[in-house]
């Protein structure tokens, strides 16, 4: 069966544990994140072009890819730093709005977080990755009224006021 004709049955593959590292630039105030599989999360400050990046936080997290069990098509999700459950804190937010477009009461919106938190490059998670994530998380839901909607984090109105719940392990790497 060709990839194009296949109604994909995705399975999680290449599950890798690591750290979601958040950095901020004190010059432009932008924020970025990246996934590190180093045994110890990198916490260095460094200069990159006009940016002066400093470590803000890191949390244990995991990344994964998807592979179709029918046609073996693969979807690499290296751009997805983490997933975040929308807590519907702001009706003006695009992530919130994505949930209101679904008629079901049991619609849950998760934002796929990219590395460019401030979206200074204007790029976010590719549409094909978002599509695959939606297919994957909905394919095994038995409740016909329940739906998972995955959207790119570029729809988020404000990083600073967002009350979304990030799927990462907070506090495990804190130093006391």
């Amino acid at each position: 069966m060709s990839n194009a004709a296949c109604h994909h049955q995705w399975a999680m593959t290449n599950l890798r544990s690591g750290y979601l590292v958040i950095e901020g630039c004190f010059h432009c105030r932008n924020r970025i994140s990246f996934f590190s599989q180093e045994p110890v999360a990198p916490i260095d400050d460094y200069h990159e072009g006009e940016h002066f990046w400093s470590h803000l936080a890191h949390y244990q997290a995991s990344q994964f890819d998807l592979k179709c069990e029918k046609c073996s098509a693969e979807m690499q999700l290296k751009d997805v730093m983490a997933l975040m459950l929308c807590m519907k804190c702001n009706p003006e937010c695009g992530v919130y709005a994505a949930g209101t477009q679904e008629p079901s009461q049991k619609t849950w919106v998760y934002a796929a977080l990219c590395a460019d938190t401030s979206h200074s490059t204007k790029k976010c998670i590719p549409p094909e990755s978002i599509r695959a994530l939606n297919e994957y998380f909905n394919q095994s839901i038995k409740d016909p009224a329940k739906k998972i909607v995955v959207v790119p984090c570029s729809l988020r109105k404000s990083v600073d006021t967002c009350q979304g719940v990030v799927l990462a392990d907070f506090g495990l790497t804190d130093l006391y």
Binding site: M84, W108, I141, L167, A168
Partner: protein, 108 residues
């Protein structure tokens, strides 16, 4: 075995109503980053009581969540579980003790 039957046989505490789902397996983990990889219909056993536990459990459509070591989830965690229809259960003993009970009942 359904969640209600498990509660009857093990005397687990219930923190909310939640849906009575069929248990297809058992998964033990205390890390949210690990939970997102489990299969639908699993009974999740954990020490975690943070809200992001529910966010992850909802994403992978668990059968129910059992919090061991006599820990109690906060009200906002229970509220989120209620919205998600996830049954929250509690076990007084440690995770290993519960795992042994589940093996005896041939669950998982």
């Amino acid at each position: 075995m359904k969640v209600s039957e498990l509660v009857e046989k093990t005397g687990l505490k219930t923190f909310n109503e939640g849906a009575d789902k069929e248990i297809k397996g058992v998964y033990i983990s205390d890390m949210v980053s690990d939970i997102i990889g489990i299969n639908e219909g699993h009974l999740l056993i954990t020490l975690q009581t943070h809200k992001n536990l529910i966010a992850a459990a909802n994403l992978v459509d668990v059968a129910a969540v059992v919090i061991s070591r006599n820990k109690t989830p906060a009200e906002d965690v229970v509220a989120l579980a209620n919205k998600a229809g996830i049954k929250l259960l509690g076990y007084d003993g440690d995770t290993w003790g519960l795992a042994k009970k589940l093996c005896e009942l041939k669950i998982g």
